[in-house]
Assembly symmetry: C5
Homo-oligomer: 264 residues x 5
C-alpha cells in the first residue's frame, strides 16, 4: 500500500474543502450535480473514443497500481543475482535450476530458465530486451490514458463553462441571477482543473517514476544474467551491477550482499 498516493489525494481534497469552507458559504454552492456530470461524462465519453474498449475498461487497474508499492526491492534482487552467480560458478549453469525455484520475479525466473536450457547468449539477450521494451511500452500506454484524461478534463470543464455562460448571457435581464449563474458556470472549470491536477496528472507521474525504477531493475537483471551465463567472476558482476545505483542505495545494500556472500 503506497500511503503517499492515498494521503496526497485525501489531503488535497481536505485542503480544497477547507478552502471552500473558509468562505462561510458552506460546501453547497460548490456541488452542482449537472456540472459534475458534464465534466466527468464528457471527459470519459471522449476517453472511450480515444482508447479501444478493452484498454479503456482497464483504466481502473492502471489507476489502482499507483496505490500499490513496487514488489521488487533492488537490494534483494542484487543479492539474489549474486547468489545465483556464486552457484553457477561453483556448480555450473545447470545448478541454477534449483536456485531458481524460489525466485518470485517472473522476468528473472524466465531469464534463468533460458540460461539453464542452454539458449544462445545472443538469443537470451534478444528475448529479454524485447520483453523489457514491451513492458515499458505497456506502462507508457497506461500512463498515456491518464495523460489523455488530464488533457480532456480541463477541456470539458471549459466546454461546460461556455454552456453556462451562454445561458447566463441570454438571461441578463434578471440581475439577481447573474452572479449565481456565473458561479455555476465556473464550477465545471473548477472540477476539470481539480481532476487534471489532483487525480490524473500526479498519478501519471507516479506511474512514470515506478516504471523507470522497474526498468532499471530489469536492466540490472539482464546485465546480471548475461554475466552469469558468460561465467564472469561474481565480484566483477557485483561491480557492474552497483554502477546502476546511487551511492546511498549502494551503502544500504552492503548488509544484504554480505549475507548473500556469507550464504554463498
Amino acid at each position: 500500500m503506497d500511503i503517499a498516493t492515498l494521503g496526497g489525494l485525501i489531503g488535497g481534497l481536505a485542503l480544497i474543502a477547507w478552502g471552500i469552507l473558509a468562505n462561510n458559504l458552506g460546501i453547497g454552492p460548490y456541488v452542482d450535480p449537472p456540472s459534475i456530470i458534464i465534466v466527468i461524462g464528457g471527459t470519459f465519453a471522449a476517453f472511450f473514443i480515444a482508447y479501444p474498449l478493452s484498454k479503456a475498461l482497464n483504466i481502473g487497474g492502471v489507476y489502482g497500481k499507483s496505490f500499490k508499492n513496487p514488489t521488487n526491492d533492488i537490494a534483494t534482487i542484487i543479492a539474489k543475482i549474486l547468489e545465483l552467480a556464486n552457484t553457477a560458478r561453483r556448480e555450473g549453469l545447470l545448478a541454477l535450476e534449483e536456485g531458481a525455484s524460489d525466485i518470485e520475479d517472473e522476468f528473472l525466473k524466465k531469464g534463468v530458465g533460458l540460461i539453464v536450457d542452454g539458449t544462445d547468449p545472443e538469443l537470451v539477450k534478444s528475448i529479454l530486451d524485447t520483453e523489457m521494451s514491451s513492458i515499458a511500452e505497456r506502462h507508457a500506454e497506461g500512463r498515456g490514458m491518464l495523460d489523455t484524461l488530464a488533457a480532456l478534463a480541463p477541456a470539458f470543464g471549459m466546454v461546460g463553462t461556455l454552456i453556462g455562460l451562454v445561458a447566463m448571457l441570454q438571461q441578463l435581464d434578471d440581475p439577481s441571477s447573474i452572479g449565481p449563474s456565473m458561479a455555476v458556470a465556473l464550477l465545471t472549470t473548477f472540477y476539470g482543473s481539480l481532476m487534471a491536477n489532483l487525480f490524473f496528472m500526479p498519478v501519471s507521474k507516479k506511474l512514470e517514476i515506478r516504471s523507470a525504477e522497474e526498468m532499471v531493475i530489469k536492466e540490472i537483471m539482464i546485465e546480471g544474467l548475461l554475466s552469469i551465463q558468460a561465467g564472469e567472476n561474481p565480484r566483477i558482476i557485483e561491480e557492474k551491477l552497483k554502477a546502476f545505483l546511487s551511492p546511498k542505495v549502494r551503502k544500504s545494500l552492503s548488509p544484504a550482499e554480505e549475507e548473500a556472500q556469507a550464504e554463498a
Copy 2:
C-alpha cells in the same frame, strides 16, 4: 465495427445536449448557423491549405477507420506463423507456398512469397522493414491531419468570437442586446472546443493506438518470417514471439497455439 468510437461520440453529444437543456432555455440559443459555418468553414479552409488536395480529400477515409475494428488478431497471427514454421521444418521452405494461400494479411503473404522465392534474408528484412516504416509514416500522416484539425478548430473558434465581440462592442448603446450578442460570440469558441476535444483529438489518439498495435503485429511477423527462413526451431520461435506480448495476452494465446501445434 468499433462500438466505443460511435458510443463515445453519441454519448458525449447527448451529455452536452443534456447539459444545455438543464438550463431550461432549450437548445435554440446554442445553435447559430453562421457561427457553425465560420468555425467549420474556417477550419477546413485552413486544412485545405495545409494538405495536398489528394490527401485532404481522404480525411473521411482516415476518420472512418476509427469506427472499424482491427482485422488482425494477434493470437491468430502467431498461430499461423507457428504453423508455417512447422511446415517449413518438416517439408522445406518451398512447401510454404501452399500454406500461404489462405493467408489474408497482405504483409505476411508478401513475406512468405519472398521466402519461397529464395530471396536473400537481408533483402527480405530490408524490404519488409521499409514497407513497415512506410506504413507507419502513412498512419502518422493520417493522424497528423486530425491533429491539424484539432489545432485549427479552437483557433477559428476564437477568430469567430473576436468577430462577434467587436460587433457587440460597437453597439454597446443598446444594453438589451449586449447579453445575447456576447452569448452568440461565445458560441464559436464553444463549437471549436467541442470539435477539437470530442471529434478530432480522441479519434487521432485511437488511430495512434491502433497503429502501434498494428506495428507490433508487423514486428512479430518480420521476426517470425526471418526465423522461419533461418530454419529455427518452432519452439524457439514461439519463445521469441511471445516476448512481445503481455502475460495476459500470452495466456489467452495458449489454446490457439495448442491447436496450431496439434495440427502441426
Copy 3:
C-alpha cells in the same frame, strides 16, 4: 499551380468576410489601418531580427512554393529508374550516360553521373546522403521562418490589444467611447490570430508534407541508384522500390511500369 492553397486562402477570407457582414455593421469596423500596421509591422520587425537578411528576404520565395505543384511524379521516377536498370544490365554502366540526358531531376542526374564516372559506391552513397540531408535542412529552415511568423503574429496581436486597452482605460470617463475603443483594441488580436492560423501555419504544414514526399522520392532514387551500381536484377530493384509506396500508389504505378518494361 496548387489550387488547394489558393482556394483555401480565398475561401477562408471569404468566410471571415461573410461572418463579419452577417453582423450588419459592414466591413468598416473590422478594418483599422493603424492596427494592421502594428501587427504586420511588429511581426516582421521581429522576423528580421530573427533571420539573417539574405534568408529573411527569401520569405516570398518560400511562401510561393506552397502555390506550386511538386515537379516529381513518383510513377515517372520509378519507371525511369527501372529503365536505367534495364539499360545498365544489358549494356553496362557506361551506357547510362546516354539514357541520363533526358533526366530532368538534378538529383537523379547527378547520381547517374557519379555512377558513370565510376565513383566508389560508398562515396556515391555518402555524397547523395549529404545532399539529401542538406536539402531537408534547407526545407526545414524555410518552414522555420513560417513557424516563427505564426508565433510572432498572435504575440504582436496581443501587444497591440494591450496598447489599445491601456488607452481605453485611461479615458473611461467618456462611456460612449468605451465600446468602440475596446473593439479597436481587439482588432489586433483578431488580425494576429488570422495571420497565424490562415496564412502562416497551414502553409508551413503544406511545405512540411511536400518536403516529406520529396525526401521519399530522393530515398527511392538513392536506393535505386545504388542497386543499379551493384548490378542487381531489375525485378528485385522494382520489389525494393515498391516497398516505399502505399498499395494504392503501387496499383496506379502498374501501367507506367509495364510501359517501362515493354520499352526495355
Copy 4:
C-alpha cells in the same frame, strides 16, 4: 555557497515587496494565510501523489543543491589527470594507486581503482558509462520534481482563484465586498505564479546547467582514464581533453597545467 541563487531569491522577493508597497496599501492585502495554505498545500498534496515518499521527502536536499557551488574545478581535474598520465607513463599503471590516494572525486577514484586492478578496458568503459548515465538520470529525476512543482503551483493557484470567484459571485448583492473578495481570489494565482517562476523553475534550470557541467567533467575523466590505460602520450591526452573546453577556459587552464607538467 552559490551567492547568485540566494541573491536572486532575495532580490526577486524584495522587488515584489517594493512593487506591492508602491501601491501605498501596505503589504497586508497581499498576505492571505488561507490562500497561501491552499496553494502550497494543494501543490504539495499533488506532489506527494506524484513522487514515491522516499524521493518526495528528499526535495529539500535537491533544492539545497542549488545553493552550493560545484565541488569540481575543471582545471584541477585536467591537471590531475595529466599528472596521473605522466605517472603511469614513467612508473606503470600500478604506480597510480599511490597517486590516487589524494583524489577527492569518487568517480575518478573509482576509475583509477579499476585501472590499477587491471580490469579489462571495455569493462572499465562500460562500468563508468553506466555510472555516469545513472548519475545523469538521478539528476534529471531531481529536476523533474522541481518541474512538477512548477507546473502544479499555478494550477492550484487557479483552483484557489476559482474557489474565490464562485464565493464572490454567490454574494454579488453586497457591492462593497466585490472588490476585496475578488482581490483575495486573485491572490492564489499570484502566489502560484510567483512560486513557479521565482522558486521552482529557475532552480530547476540551475540544476540542469550544473548537471550538464558535471557530465562534461565526467566525460573528460572517462576519456582521460581510458587514454591512460591505453598508455597514450600525455601530450595527446592533453590535446584530447582540451577539445571539450571553450577557448576561454583553455587559456585559464594553462597555469594549472604547467604546474602539473612541471610537477611531472
Copy 5:
C-alpha cells in the same frame, strides 16, 4: 555589423511608439518606472537564480553576438580547403604547415596542425568532432539563456499585473481611479510581452541559425581535412564538399573556386 538585428529592434520599437501615439494620449501613460522595474528586475532576479554567475554575467556578450556578422564565408573556406588539398597532393602533407600560416579560422588551423603533426586520422576526427560538439553545446547554452529570459519576462509581466489588479480591487470605491489603475496594472504584461517577443525570442532564433550555419562550415572543414589527410583527389573533395551546399550557393562559389584552382 548585422544591420537587420539593429534595424528590426529600432523598427519594432518605432512601430510600437507610433501605435501608442496614434491614441493621442502621448507616450506618458505607457511609461511607468515602477512597472518597468518589477518586470525587468523580477526577470533578471530569476535569471540569476537560473544561471551560474559567470555565465549569467556573460549575457551581454551572447546578446551582442546577434549584432555581428559571421566571420566565415563559406566560399572562402571551401576555396582554402581546395587550395590546401592541391598543396598536399603536390608537395605532401608537411607542406601544409606553410599554407596554414594565413588561415584565420582557429578550428581549421588546429585541424591542419594535427595533420601536419602526423596525428592518427581517427584521433584527428575524434578531436575535431569533440570540439565541434562542444562549440555547439556552448552556443545552445547561450541561446538557452535568451529562451529563459523570453519565458520569464511574460511571467513577471503577469505577476506585476496581478499585484496591480489586487491593489485596484481593494480601492474600488473610488470609481475615477479604476481605469487608470487597471491601465497601469496592464503595463507590466505589455512590457513582459514586448521584451519576450521583440528582444529575447528573435535574437535567440538568430543565434540558433548562425550556430547552424557555423556547424555546417565546421562539418565541411572536418570532411575536407580528413579527405586531405587520406590523400583524396581534390576534384572528389570538391564534389563531396559541394553536396553540403544549396544550388544557389554552389553557383556563387564557382568564381572563388576557379581562382583557387587557377592559383593551384
